[in-house]
Every structure is written in structure tokens, then in C-alpha cells.
Amino acid sequence: MFRFTITLLLLTLTSLSGCSNFGVQPWERDVLAQKKMQLDPYPVDTYLDEHIYTSREASSGGRGIGGGGCGCN
């Protein structure tokens, strides 16, 4: 686990230094500002999907944290 975290941190740092090659200027954010271009444009859909899939499958997490628990039989 520890080794994995270190690898992930290194990967993140490496990709961050590469990240300066990407991106846009502040006046080029017209498309990214649209609702449909957000990472989670429909949070209610996401909430309901996660409720279905975490109660029907054995995996959870990844997208975010702090959703709350359920008995989900």
C-alpha cells in the first residue's frame, strides 16, 4: 500500500510538471464554462446511480467521498 501511494504521488508530480504544457488562457474558457462540460453536470443522476450500483455491486469509491451509507439489502 505504502509503495503504491509513493508511486501514485510520483506519477501525479510527473504529470503535474507536464501539465503546464496543457491548458487554456482565461479568455478561452467559453466551452469549459458550459454546464454540460462540468465533471458532474447532473449531481442528482450521479447520486442515484451510485446508490444503485454500490448496493448491487461490491465496489465503491473512486469518483468522490462523503456520500453517506445505507443498509441496502
Binding site: 500500500m1 503504491f4 501511494t5 501514485l8 501525479t12 504529470s15 503535474l16 501539465c19 503546464s20 496543457f22 491548458g23 487554456v24 488562457q25 482565461p26 479568455w27 478561452e28 474558457r29 467559453d30 466551452v31 469549459l32 458550459q34 454540460k36 462540460m37 462540468q38 465533471l39 447532473y42 449531481p43 442528482v44 443522476d45 447520486y47 442515484l48 446508490h51 444503485i52 450500483y53 448491487r56 455491486e57 461490491a58 465496489s59 465503491s60 469509491g61 473512486g62 469518483r63 468522490g64 467521498i65 462523503g66 456520500g67 453517506g68 451509507g69 445505507c70 443498509g71 439489502n73
Partner: protein
């Protein structure tokens, strides 16, 4: 001369744009900001080849308001009602089988060659979530949230905090978060002692380890979001979670069988037992890309834990703009998991493992979702949408449980006022 100094023009424009934007937002907030209201009604109906199973109806209301510059309050209210039958973990037999209900006060019988389903499931759940998002500095943002939910046999309370900071001209965002949930399981009829017999008549009572059981979950999130170009955004997350406490499903049992798969002994059913801790990890990658108007949304998750689950989840959505605010969004999802180390389709007579479960959700499992959403955005301020999906779960290994199909229908209405 000017051509030699493009950067100074860039930065001048950047400063101008930023100051204009901040001026606009100050001005907008001088007037009152609207409440953004999202409502949804979900129907989820599950069945296998022979029987209908669980049906869930779930209304959701989410309300969000900007209370100061870039500072938001969000509330979410959920109510769900669940009825129907759920697989109890026992396997079909060539003769009818009788089980006791969780309370121990009644019995139910499954016909020959049918998957045993416990028909006594009726549950309602209310959940509330509050979230406070606020800027902590020019480039740093905090999101703090609290949640509470209550079912008649389950209570959940949790807190979460996420901090994020922008870099590279706001093209890169790093996030870190922590959450903690304290849950209480209050099984009907008490929590059964793991791997003890389920009585088959109401005259005998199950062995319990008490009533309320605690379960705690702590999660850590590390994430990076990167603007790739004017049309593409990418996200990479790592989450690590620790569960401890009562992680067993108090209503699931295992059949004890001989080598022909026939029930044996006077106590042919045992309550399941899971380990009391679980370490979970997931890597999640998401990309949003806009073509001329249409938007492609792709995500992939690799999940693994110390129970033996490793899973792949691939999710694809394509939003096709039809013009005049109408859109169609096909959705495909594929999921595949390997079983936990203590999964048994049925327990061979004479084995006495430390942990055992026959819950098909912990088995080798493949699942697909195919769906379509149709939406109408009337103007900037309202949106109406409907989505219909078909979710299918099937055995990914040699455990011959039947396919489970679910129909999902959801209505959404969003309004700013």
C-alpha cells in the same frame, strides 16, 4: 516590437479578463442569486427469469444557492421506499424449502427448483445532506459536508471535507479530502451470530450477538483535474477507504450441502459471516470532451480491496445536441468483478471456514447498463429530462445464480428561481 512580446499581451488580457469577470460577479451578487432546484423521481424494478424482486421508488430534491462570491450552500433530501423480495443466499433444491423470517416470528417457503427469496423486505429510508462550498483564498476552495440517513434497521451519520487548489493559470486543480461515517446496524430480531444455524421453525430462535452493531468508514481522496485544451477536461482520483465493525449482512444465509449439492443435516442453513475490517482502494479516471456541440463523457475505475474483490467499471455517455435545447444521451456501462475470498455458492458439509458468504453480490459478477436520456433545456433556467435504462447482472464465474434484470426510469426537472 509588439510581436516580440506576446506574453505581455497575454498577461494584460488575462488581468483584464479576470478583473472584468470579478466585476461581473460582484455586480450579479448585488442582486439576489437564484435557488437552483434539481428534482428527480427514480423507479427501479428488479426481476429474474421467474420472479419479480426488489422495487424502489426514490424522490430526490436538491437545492443550491450562492450566498456570497463563489460561496454556495447545497441541501439534498432523499426518500426511498423499497418493497419486494431479495435473494437470501440459499441455493435451489429439488424439494420446497422453508425459512424463518428475520424476526423469527414467521416462516416462508420457496418452491422446488426456485432461487430462495426472502419476501419480507419492506424498507423506507430518509436521507439529508448539507454541503458548504467556500473560497479559502484566491486559488483555494473548501467543501464541507454532513449527512444523515435513517432506515428502520440502519442509521448513518457522516462528515466530509475536501480542499482544492488551482495551479497553472487555473488549468490544474489538486484536491485532497477526508470523510468519516459512523453507522449503526439494528437487524430485525437481533444480529445473528456468524455461521450459526438459521432456525427452520418459529419454535427455535436464532443465536444473536446483540441488537445494535457499529460500523465505521473512513475515506481519503487525492485527485487532480487538468484542462487539456479548450474542449477537453480530465480528472484522475485515488481513493482509499477503511471499514471496520459489523460488515456482515444479517439477513443472508448459506446452504450446507453434500457433494451432489443436496442439503444435509438438521441445520442446513447457516448465517453468513464477513471479516470485521475492509481496506478499499480505487483509481478513477474521467474525461469530458466536446465535439462541435456534442459532449463525450468517459470514465474508468479500477477498484480493489483486501476481501479479494478487483473490479473494472467503464462508463460512456454521449450527449447529442438535437437543436433548440433538445438533446439525446445514450449511456453504456460495463462492470466486472472477481469474487471475495470467502464466497461460497454453497458451503460443502464438513468445512468450517472463518468467514463465509453466499451473497451473489460478492461473487464473480458481470453487469451491463444500456440507457438513453432525453432532455429539453427550455432556457438558461429550466430543464426537463427522462431517462430509461436496463441493468443486467450475470454470473461471471461458475456460481450458477440466475441473471438479474432491472428497469430504471427516472424523471428530472430543474429550475432556477
Amino acid at each position: 516590437m509588439q510581436l516580440k512580446k506576446p506574453k505581455s499581451i497575454r498577461s494584460a488580457l488575462a488581468v483584464a479578463t479576470c478583473s472584468m469577470l470579478s466585476g461581473v460577479s460582484h455586480h450579479a451578487l448585488a442582486e439576489s442569486t437564484p435557488w437552483e432546484i434539481d428534482t428527480a423521481l427514480l423507479y427501479y424494478g428488479e426481476s429474474d427469469a421467474d420472479n419479480s424482486r426488489v422495487t424502489v421508488v426514490e424522490p430526490v430534491i436538491r437545492a443550491r444557492k450562492e450566498i456570497a462570491d463563489d460561496e454556495f450552500l447545497t441541501f439534498r433530501f432523499v426518500f426511498d421506499s423499497l418493497t419486494g423480495a431479495s435473494a437470501n443466499g440459499a441455493i435451489p433444491q429439488s424439494t420446497p424449502q422453508t425459512f424463518t423470517s428475520p424476526s423469527g416470528d414467521a416462516t416462508y417457503t420457496t418452491s422446488a427448483n426456485q432461487t430462495p427469496l426472502d419476501p419480507t423486505f419492506h424498507d423506507s429510508r430518509g436521507a439529508i445532506n448539507a454541503e458548504w462550498e467556500l473560497p479559502l483564498s484566491r486559488l483555494t476552495k473548501g467543501i464541507f459536508s454532513a449527512n444523515f440517513s435513517k432506515e428502520f434497521d440502519y442509521t448513518s451519520m457522516g462528515l466530509a471535507a475536501t480542499l482544492s487548489r488551482d495551479f497553472n493559470n487555473r488549468n490544474t486543480t489538486l484536491s485532497g479530502g477526508l470523510s468519516y461515517n459512523a453507522d449503526t446496524v439494528s437487524p430485525v430480531g437481533g444480529a445473528p451470530a456468524g455461521l450459526t444455524p438459521m432456525p427452520t421453525t418459529t419454535a427455535i430462535k436464532k443465536t444473536t450477538i446483540g441488537s445494535d452493531q457499529d460500523k465505521n468508514e473512513a475515506d481519503l481522496l487525492l485527485g487532480v483535474t487538468q484542462v487539456i485544451n479548450r474542449h477537453t477536461l480530465m480528472q484522475l482520483n485515488f481513493t482509499y477507504g477503511m471499514d471496520d465493525g459489523y460488515l456482515t449482512d444479517p439477513y443472508k444465509i448459506l446452504s450446507v450441502v453434500d457433494n451432489t449439492g443436496t442439503l444435509v443435516g438438521t441445520d442446513p442453513y447457516l448465517f453468513e459471516k464477513r471479516p470485521d475490517s475492509r481496506a478499499r482502494q480505487a483509481i478513477y479516471w474521467k474525461t469530458v470532451h466536446q465535439f462541435s456541440e456534442d459532449v463525450l463523457n468517459v470514465s474508468y475505475r479500477y477498484y480493489w480491496d483486501d476481501w479479494g474483490i478487483a473490479s473494472h467499471t467503464l462508463d460512456l455517455k454521449y450527449r447529442a445536441e438535437l437543436g433548440r435545447g433538445h438533446y439525446l444521451e445514450p449511456h453504456l456501462r460495463y462492470y466486472s468483478q472477481s469474487k471475495v475470498d470467502f464466497y461460497y455458492y454453497a458451503l460443502p458439509d464438513g468445512t468450517s471456514p472463518d468467514y463465509a458468504s453466499a451473497d451473489y453480490r460478492l461473487a464473480d459478477l458481470d453487469a451491463t447498463t444500456i440507457g438513453l436520456k432525453y432532455g429539453i433545456t427550455r432556457d438558461e433556467n429550466s430543464e426537463l429530462a427522462i431517462r430509461a435504462e436496463r441493468y443486467t447482472q450475470s454470473s461471471g464465474g461458475d456460481a450458477p445464480f440466475p441473471d438479474v434484470n432491472a428497469n430504471i426510469i427516472q424523471l428530472n426537472y430543474s429550475l432556477n428561481f
